[in-house]
Symmetry: C2
Subunit: 334 residues, 2 copies
């Protein structure tokens, strides 16, 4: 179902990533044999999306084993490499979760680690299909079976996962059930994951879409143009508080005010079972340059300070339901 | 008080505009002798901001008179030129208001029309000072005299007016009263009037600022980083409903939820006394290209459809007060 896009793959014993910084202009793949280059790729968002980063991180542990062998590193040095992979980005729980999960297989050798990484990818694929079904069931039950206009933020599709996606997987499933009219795609500043990536995936899948500035989402929602909004998540606390791409909170607030459903769609691995609520989730603050320059073009006075958080936290009270591969957890009333 | 920036001026019998599409990279002025070029400049946002467009439109009527004389147009043709100026952009009420105000002086001749246009500019300058004082008084009365962090959206300063500005004029006045800590400047997609123009004005005035993606405003407000938000307006209905740059509504909603003041600052000429409420305000929809391209760089799949409204409507119930040059109209409770 995920079509031809493979954002993360293991080819010829090497981690292979589709370079998402180049989409929609180029479809280019890179292979990696060095952990520091993978970490750089994760930081630069060559690969992004919590589930995709998780799978990439798991495969990167195999790369670390190969690199350690090639460079005669001792086991402490190997553990340091693996630690560095897990720390490449701080907010998404899936990365450290996947790295720790495959790390346990180190004593059993490289092939056991690789098999576990493949297993994480397989589970991600399956969980995408399950989330798609559970989320679609939920929407059709609440809103009736009719073509819906759905709004989404950032990219949560095949580029962000190794499956049909999380929120975008539900949207794809709605399309396959003839229950989708159109998708409103927030462009998702500053890195435009919506206009660059989600629009590209939808175009490739012949799904009707419309790109809007993030700041227009509230108007679209409050003016009755949208039936429901769906986003992914990078970390979910036990009470349902969800960290996701900056701008998610504004969408949630508008849906709450308009009385339409706001769904968070993410695999169970996104739930951080150490967190009762989201208040202690570490929010990554990114560089001034992401705001002050656009593809190398200066768009603000030189040296401007910025406020550039990569994520925000949506309190559970604004979330109608969290959809996982297991079930729909209903939180707030839509 | 407005410093050296003159966005709209009348020099050597010609309307002169600072080309705001080039800021912050270049500070370039154009002079106009043809109405169609002025209309094009207004449409392309060489000049923007409701009060500045109003003054530009008033001077453009003098240009129309000069052009009619040069080209031997009859009075019907002159009236057509003047109609076209008033229709250059549909949402801001100030443009048609200013054009109609000077048009009345046509029977008295060119110098009377020009004098009335100068008078509109003078009144705008004075009203900026008055709004600055009234808005600052309001904020200090409600929040106490301490350095505040204020958020603003789009550009409402000397570039948008012929004065110290509307919302940005209040912010400047707060600075001169030592009651300003820092300004959070929404970048204001798609045309980045915040990061390009407001940041540039604040930098020139040595006022401390920080640029943020529009989508981060809700988080900044809900997390307690902001004491109050201030915006301008393009058209205000009698009940207080206000049309302003797309994204204003999201800021208003967040302020409402966080319980902090949300102020609309605009001259009385922005109030459309024909409108009981905002429901019938015509919202300009702009081109797909503004979203799909960035300074000529493609950022979305070719041919993507968009939802690109230039403005949204903030219902009065989310507005703490409307500040004009006459008084603070208190609407909702902050």
């Amino acid at each position: 179902m995920s079509g031809p896009i493979k954002a993360v793959d293991w080819i010829d014993e090497k981690l292979t990533l589709l370079d998402q910084t180049l989409i929609p202009l180029e479809e280019k793949y890179h292979s990696y044999q060095e952990v520091n280059l993978i970490i750089e790729a994760i930081k630069k968002l060559v690969v992004r999306g919590a589930p995709a980063i998780g799978v990439a991180g798991a495969y990167a542990v195999v790369t670390a084993i190969d690199q350690a062998k090639r460079e005669n590193l001792n086991s402490d040095q190997l553990e340091d490499l693996i630690d560095a992979i897990g720390d490449a980005r701080p907010t998404a729980v899936n990365l450290s979760w996947a790295v720790e999960r495959v790390r346990k297989f180190l004593p059993s050798g490289r092939s056991a680690v690789l098999e576990e990484a493949h297993q994480i990818a397989r589970e991600d694929r399956l969980s995408g299909d399950l989330m798609g079904a559970i989320g679609s069931d939920w929407l059709i039950e609440k809103l009736g079976k009719k073509p819906l206009t759905l709004l989404t933020h950032c990219n949560t599709g095949s580029l962000a996962t190794t499956s049909i996606g999380t929120a975008l997987g539900v949207i794809r499933t709605m399309q396959s059930r003839q229950a989708l009219k159109e998708v409103f795609v927030d462009e998702t500043r500053p890195l435009l994951q919506g206009s660059r990536l989600t629009a590209w995936e939808l175009m490739k899948s012949n799904i009707s879409y419309r790109i809007l500035p993030d700041s227009a989402a509230t108007m679209a929602i409050m003016n009755g143009k949208i039936d429901a909004a769906l986003i992914g998540a990078d970390r979910i606390a036990l009470n349902g508080d969800s960290a996701n791409k900056i701008g998610s909170l504004a969408v949630a607030l508008a849906c709450h005010e308009a009385g339409i459903p706001f769904l968070v769609v993410a695999p169970e691995s996104t739930v951080d079972r150490n967190l009762q609520d989201g208040s202690s989730i570490h929010i990554e603050i990114r560089s001034d340059d992401e705001i002050n320059y656009f593809k190398g073009i200066q768009v603000a006075p030189i040296g401007s300070q910025t406020f550039n958080p990569a994520f925000d936290l949506t309190p559970a009270k604004y979330i109608s339901a969290v959809i996982t591969e297991k079930r729909a957890y209903e939180i707030a009333k839509a």
